[in-house]
């Protein structure tokens, strides 16, 4: 009876795991199939071909979009870590006028749904003349309230004696932050890095508003525009372009799986 229950449990687990993994396997295999084989259920194409990838690469600037995505997500992540930790440090460890207001404002920002500020932000970008620039994709994300709260929380737990003795040695606040706090804060910094990078890498609504020029588009946007606009022309080509977005993520996920789950579940951010 107990044995039977165990077998049933593993059966259910395997079946559920399959429902989450199989669609991605099907997608990967569909990109290698010629058009005539797409409708078949088999994972292994009879006549494997890279034609879908060649067509996709030739029809739209996916290489450029890959670089754009890395540039935008990379810059945002670096900025949230570096500049965000500077203000989180001040909010956690320094007494200055307005620090409690800043704390309260950070909490309040978390409660505001993004759609409320979407249109005013868009008109701001238009008026600043930033449509079709990287700045439009990056500027509204250079700080992140969730990240600042997480870093502040972590910084609060670091002993004051470390700061005091560093000050005795004549260290400035910036040096204390980057040479003493940063090495101690690796766990929180890596959590922030992953969820900020992933959030930015997967973001599509904001780019759809502020970018129309193909050469500035990030991957998810180019992919969406390409698939919807009929540029792809066939299922295989459209899925092949989706693979450009998926492959780096799946590789990173396979390596850093535990950090990914902790980070994205902990931050409340979904793709």
């Amino acid at each position: 009876m107990k044995m039977l229950k165990r077998i049933a449990l593993y059966g259910v687990l395997a079946l559920s795991a399959l429902t989450f993994i199989y669609p991605f396997l099907w997608m990967a295999s569909a990109t290698l199939k010629p058009l005539t084989e797409i409708g078949t259920l088999s994972l292994f194409p009879d006549h494997a071909t890279l034609d879908n990838y060649r067509t996709m690469w030739a029809r739209a600037p996916f290489g450029r979009a890959l670089i754009n995505s890395m540039l935008v997500a990379g810059t945002i992540t670096a900025s949230v870590l570096v500049f965000g930790s500077i203000s989180a440090y001040a909010m956690a460890r320094l007494r200055f006028r307005g620090s409690s207001v800043l704390n309260a404002a950070t909490m309040a920002v978390l409660l505001i749904p993004g759609q409320l500020t979407l249109i005013p932000l868009y008109t701001l970008i238009v008026q600043l003349g930033l449509i079709d620039t990287y700045a439009a994709l990056i500027l509204p994300y250079v700080f992140n309230a969730t990240a600042i709260l997480m870093m502040r929380q972590f910084f609060l737990q670091i002993p004051q004696s470390l700061i005091d003795s560093a000050r005795m040695d004549g260290m400035g606040e910036m040096r204390i932050l980057f040479t003493i706090f940063w090495p101690l804060s690796k766990p929180v910094l890596s959590i922030v890095a992953i969820f900020i990078f992933m959030g930015s890498w997967n973001e599509v609504l904001w780019p759809l508003l502020v970018v129309r020029e193909q050469h500035i588009m990030t991957l998810p946007q180019l992919l969406t525009v390409f698939s919807l606009g009929g540029g792809a022309g066939s299922v295989g080509v459209s899925l092949a372009s989706a693979m450009v977005l998926v492959i780096p993520v799946v590789i990173a996920y396979a390596i850093l799986q535990r950090n990914f789950i902790e980070s994205m579940a902990g931050s409340g951010v979904k793709g």
């Binding site: 449990l9 795991a17 078949t40 500049f83 997967n202 992919l223 579940a265």
Partner: protein, 287 residues
Amino acid sequence: MRAEQRSGSLMAAPYTAFLLIFAAYPILFALALVFMQWDLVTTPAFSGFDNVRLLANDGRFWRAVANTFVFLSIHLPLQIASALALALALNRPLAFRSFWRAAFFLPVVISGAVVAILWSNLYATDVGLINGVLVRLGLSPVSWLTNPSTAMPAIAAMVTWKNVGFYVIIYLAGLQYIPRSCKEAIEMEGATTWQRFRYLTLPLLLPQTILVVTLSTINGFQLFIEPYVMTGGGPLRRTYSIVLYLYTNAFAYQKMGYAATIGVALALIIGTVVFIQRRVIGKAEAI
């Protein structure tokens, strides 16, 4: 002391400026835009309550709101049930535990745009994987995304599939806090597995359930890329979402005042619904 004051203000200055420009100003300007008409080209014109009146009588907007409730009525029970079931299955001594967890979490890390494109192919009437399986099983194929009565349920099922791994982690964290002594005590009393679940596990997981309901409700109200990619809001506007309508007003019609009004209304609706949900779940707990 003065030095600390000064470096504190200096170090917080960039973030303060950011909050003023990218949070405070947009919030205030959103409220101002409610009373304006603006196409981004001419100067904004004061229009009183025109936008509010238009919104109150806009069938398309209320259709989108109704669609969201249809979405939520399918998505919420499905999301809670599937996340809870998978979390309970994972919360025991298992071989390959981290593999199972990683498998369930995989769709969470994939971009919503990719998932939408992938699933429009899985749902395809003639060559889709799902209908392929149905036909194999001797059932007749379904036009998932082109039939007005199945399109929104199909999208709700897909979103549940995409996010379930995220909520499994939340439930797993809650399950780890249930004290072993409680489990042992209720077993000593001779409770069946169902009774243990109903009178011990489920009530103790209430905080997690509230979190799952709140997050997936907020998420549901922000539905955009799925209908944008998969159906364009059709068939018969049955999958048109509030954010898709907001986006169309801003991007296609250049109606900034009206789009901002939709944004403000959406924020108010989300706040109200989440507030009511919490009250109702809190009441249910008291009984």
